[in-house]
Amino acid sequence: MALLKNTLAQLGVEEDRVRLEWVSASEGERFASIVNEMTEKVRELGPFSRDDGGENG
């Protein structure tokens, strides 16, 4: 995960767009709160666009 994050950082992908969590089947509430957090985080960051590559990117 650390390696992936470093690789993505070099490619200009924000760190918060990727997250790895282990959640047991009995941790329903935790699952929901992580999903909600992630949703909020991505909403804050806005849509990921492939059009940020300069004129012809």
Binding site: M1, A2, L3, L4, N6, T7, L8, Q10, L11, G12, V13, S49, R50, D52, G53, G54, E55, N56, G57
Partner: protein
């Protein structure tokens, strides 16, 4: 049978692909018997206007090497596409972007600044940069425009065949020549190489896929018999197409990935991240931090030849 009309071109490339064509040695005579070369900037004196004057489809096969990173290269790619019945992306740069596509980690402005102002060998106190248009007393001069993003050939025009390699090895070139001679080319869209990964074709002993340290090639003299990855050297074999004859491996050097992703792999770099991360023995955060510090320039290593062809294509600006 009338002789085939063959065209060769170089776009953003080093010239090595053209030299590789000459490396087929006396077989070049077979090529000359089989085909008339109607355009080859490195070796012959045909000009763009000669190509423009041809009828559409007049060239039977065009071997196009180099990535597309300027308006001139894009124009000529479109021109040759129109004039050629069969377009072949020849070499890693045309197929995947290759080394020039490492420029996709930077913007055009950064590339220009580095090349013309910051590079230690420069003497450019006036900070002069090449301009698309420059007015001089004699009139206006024009240069091709450099693009922000280096593209693969197939991102610009339709391509029938892909011949990977940096440069394509001689036996693959001969395979293409033979296929042309006997009219036995595979279905369009094919990559003319192996359908396996390099790891599948590698003869080294593979025993225990676990590493606890990553070595850069200059930090270790590898055992010539054992799997390089198992010795802690980043070898791109697990996520690279075979068919190269394992030339680097036989020279005791790791695979650098120039044959691009194997069949079924959409993103060569992502596959390599998974391959390396899954064999590194990390018990705690400290181990992970060490691994990350040993893995210098991960994106540049994993996407060394394939950045333009990857899912992201370039760094977001």
């Amino acid at each position: 049978m009338a002789k085939l009309k063959l065209g060769l071109y170089w776009a953003a490339s080093c010239g090595g692909c053209d030299v590789a064509v000459l490396d087929i040695n006396e077989k070049i005579l077979d090529v000359a018997q089989l085909a008339d070369i109607v355009f080859w900037p490195i070796a012959m004196d045909f000009k763009y206007h000669h190509v423009r004057a041809m009828e559409d489809g007049a060239i039977d096969v065009c071997l196009f090497n180099g990535a597309i990173r300027s308006s001139e290269q894009e124009d000529i790619a479109r021109l040759l596409r129109a004039k050629s019945k069969t377009m072949v992306a020849f070499g890693s740069c045309a197929c995947f972007g290759g080394i020039p596509a490492l420029a996709n980690f930077a913007s055009r402005d950064e590339v220009m600044r580095r090349a013309y102002i910051e590079a230690p060998s420069n003497d450019n106190s006036g900070a002069t940069l090449p301009q698309v248009r420059t007015t001089v007393p004699e009139g206006e001069l024009e240069l091709p425009e450099l693009y922000d993003t280096v593209l693969t050939l197939a991102q610009v025009v339709d391509v029938e065949y892909f011949v990977p390699g940096c440069p394509p090895p001689v036996d693959l070139i001969l395979k293409v020549v033979d296929a042309l001679a006997t009219n036995s080319l595979p279905p369009p869209g094919a990559v003319i190489a192996s359908e396996k990964t390099l790891c599948d074709e590698c003869e080294r002993k593979k025993e225990n896929k676990k590493i606890s340290r990553i070595y850069r090639p200059h930090e270790i003299i590898p055992d010539p018999e054992r799997c390089l990855l198992e010795q802690g050297i980043i070898c791109c074999g697990p996520a690279t197409r075979g068919g190269c004859g394992a030339l680097c491996i036989k020279a005791n050097m790791p695979c650098r990935g120039c044959f691009g992703p194997p069949p079924g792999v959409a993103d060569q770099g992502a596959k390599l991240v998974a391959a390396v991360a899954s064999i590194y023995q990390a018990r705690d955060g400290e181990d992970i931090a060490r691994m990350v510090s040993e893995m210098v320039d991960p994106a540049g290593t994993f996407y060394r030849f394939g950045l333009a062809n990857s899912m992201l294509r370039r760094k977001r600006l």
